[in-house]
Amino acid sequence: MRAFRVKTIIDGPCSGEPVFLDQKISFFGEIEPRTGLLTGRSVSIAGKPLIIPGTRGSTVGPYILYALKEYGKNPVCIIASEIEPILIIGCIIAEIPLFKLEDNYLELIDYLRKCKKPYIVLDKNKEALIVYEKKRVFDSH
């Protein structure tokens, strides 16, 4: 288990088996809003925490988040290292909790990779992201 510092941007629940990416993402073009699948991959972000270094590309991104929410394929929350205005407005209109990672992104990703089936929760004060190596049965989250 390891903890990483986060800051709340848009408050809300955030736990689950995360999908994490190496590269910044353009929601437009890189996620299918009707399925929640990452374009060209069989990985879905639907119902999962999404961990990204940041966003890039198209300013249509917020509408993709909004559409994901309408189709019920949205990530449960987003944790990003770099927070662009595009990401904030998208999360506001789609009502997706958003947290900023305050610690080093690569360290988080390295640790997530080492875990067999990583499971994340936020601490009570929502100041830390806690990564478990796998889901703990007795976890109340």
């Binding site: 941007i9 590309g57 509408y63 909004y66 559409a67 595009i86 904030i88 407005i89 998208g90």
Partner: protein, 400 residues
């Protein structure tokens, strides 16, 4: 956040529910980004308007905003509002865009025009209304944003589509990010070791910087580049990266940025060719070929250049769709050039582009001079894209 009396009135609903909601959201985004106040904007450019991209959820979002508009919206009268391209060819003459989307798109267009949007339908609003130096804008559309900041010395963040709608309604945005000079600091010095940069290399340099530089770059002026190629380069960087400002030595107006170099990179022909191999296919004609120029939309100069280039050819080859895209506003303009291009078999679409629309066919290969189109079309169509020069495209796809 500090709000003026008028802004408080807006938030308290004195100008109707839509404006109150819009300003509340702008304040919320601004607070997260550390804004201490709002700033009035003269020109808003709305992105995220294509029915094929935002679909029914986006249409519902926009309709809900407009339904709440009361008639008492006089505060936004002296603001200029333009809109990005949509998914339909406004001339309705071409057959390569999916017609099933027309109805939904026209609904979006009518919602936008009710908000006071001028029917420009283009991604190059800077050609329609030139931004002034130090002017505060609220623009979506990544290529427009980076041009406004880097070429014109105006101030805008890379805004998401919905926020531009809210700024169009209220005439304001939050005062943070690239609106403040202290956030416009060039950190990476980029030297380009090429004597002259044509369209293809402009796109390559742009994509390369987008992928490889994570802060604000300053490009040393060691080569010549036309306005059109600067436009191609910046659009490419804003697609493959998240750049809102790239300082161009002796082009970006002084006093709109600060220089504090921490990093240096140099780009030469070899590194660009190596990079090209990773992102681009060979230039060739296949069974179904799309040659595409006009990402970002073509300016008049580019239209003229293309017309000159194709003059000596008879027509576009079989199995090739040669598409160019231009602003919706050009509809009744430059008819002599447009007619010449059409007579050669070139398809001209107004107020749209393949990135924001659905095509009625799937090409085997796309040839383009645009790094931005290369970046998106490869992802959207899952198709080979060849990034090459406009001269080569014309040579390959037209016959004498």
């Amino acid at each position: 956040m500090y709000l003026t009396k008028e802004e408080e009135k807006i938030i308290n609903g004195e100008y109707g529910e839509a404006l109150a909601l819009a300003l509340k959201v702008i304040v919320k985004v601004g607070e997260h980004l550390g804004a201490e106040k709002l700033v009035k904007v003269r020109h808003v450019h709305i992105s995220g308007v294509s029915y094929s991209n935002i679909g029914d959820p986006g249409l519902r979002f926009l309709s809900r905003m407009v339904k709440r508009l009361s008639s008492n919206t006089s505060i936004v009268k002296n603001i200029y509002v333009t809109s990005n391209p949509t998914c339909i060819d406004l001339s309705q003459e071409t057959r390569i865009f999916d017609r099933k989307l027309v109805e939904g798109q026209l609904l979006i267009n009518s919602v936008l025009e009710r908000m006071g949007v001028k029917p420009t339908y283009t991604c190059i609003p800077y050609v329609i209304r030139r931004p002034n130096i130090h002017e505060h804008l609220c623009w979506g559309e990544s290529n427009a944003v980076i041009m406004a900041n880097s070429y014109y010395g105006a101030y805008t963040n890379r805004e998401g589509g919905p926020l531009t709608v809210m700024a169009a309604l209220t005439g304001r945005t939050y005062y943070a990010g690239l609106h403040l000079i202290e956030n416009r600091i060039a950190r990476t010095l980029v030297s380009v070791n090429l004597p002259k940069v044509d369209d293809e290399y402009a796109s390559l340099i742009g994509l390369y910087i987008g992928y490889n530089v994570n802060n604000i770059p300053l490009i040393k002026r060691s080569f010549t580049m036309s306005f059109e190629n600067i436009k191609l380069m910046l659009a490419s960087s804003a697609a493959s990266g998240n750049h809102g400002l790239i300082v161009l030595e002796s082009i970006t107006p002084r006093n709109t940025y600060i220089v504090d170099i921490k990093d240096k990179i140099s780009i030469d022909k070899e590194s660009l060719e190596y990079f090209r191999e990773k992102i681009s296919s060979e230039t060739e004609i296949r069974e179904s070929t799309l040659a595409y120029i006009g990402c970002p939309h073509l300016s008049l100069t580019e239209l003229i250049k293309l017309a000159k280039l194709v003059k000596k050819y008879r027509k576009v080859r079989k199995n090739v769709v040669f598409l160019i895209t231009v602003p919706g506003l050009y509809m009744s303009l430059f008819n002599d050039i447009i007619e010449l291009l059409k007579s050669k078999g070139i398809t001209i679409a107004y107020g749209t582009c393949p990135v924001v629309s659905k095509l009625t066919f799937k090409p085997d290969i796309v040839l383009t001079n645009s790094g931005k189109a290369c970046f998106y079309l490869n992802k959207i169509f899952n198709v080979d894209v060849s990034l090459t020069s406009i001269d080569d495209i014309v040579k390959v796809v037209m016959e004498k």
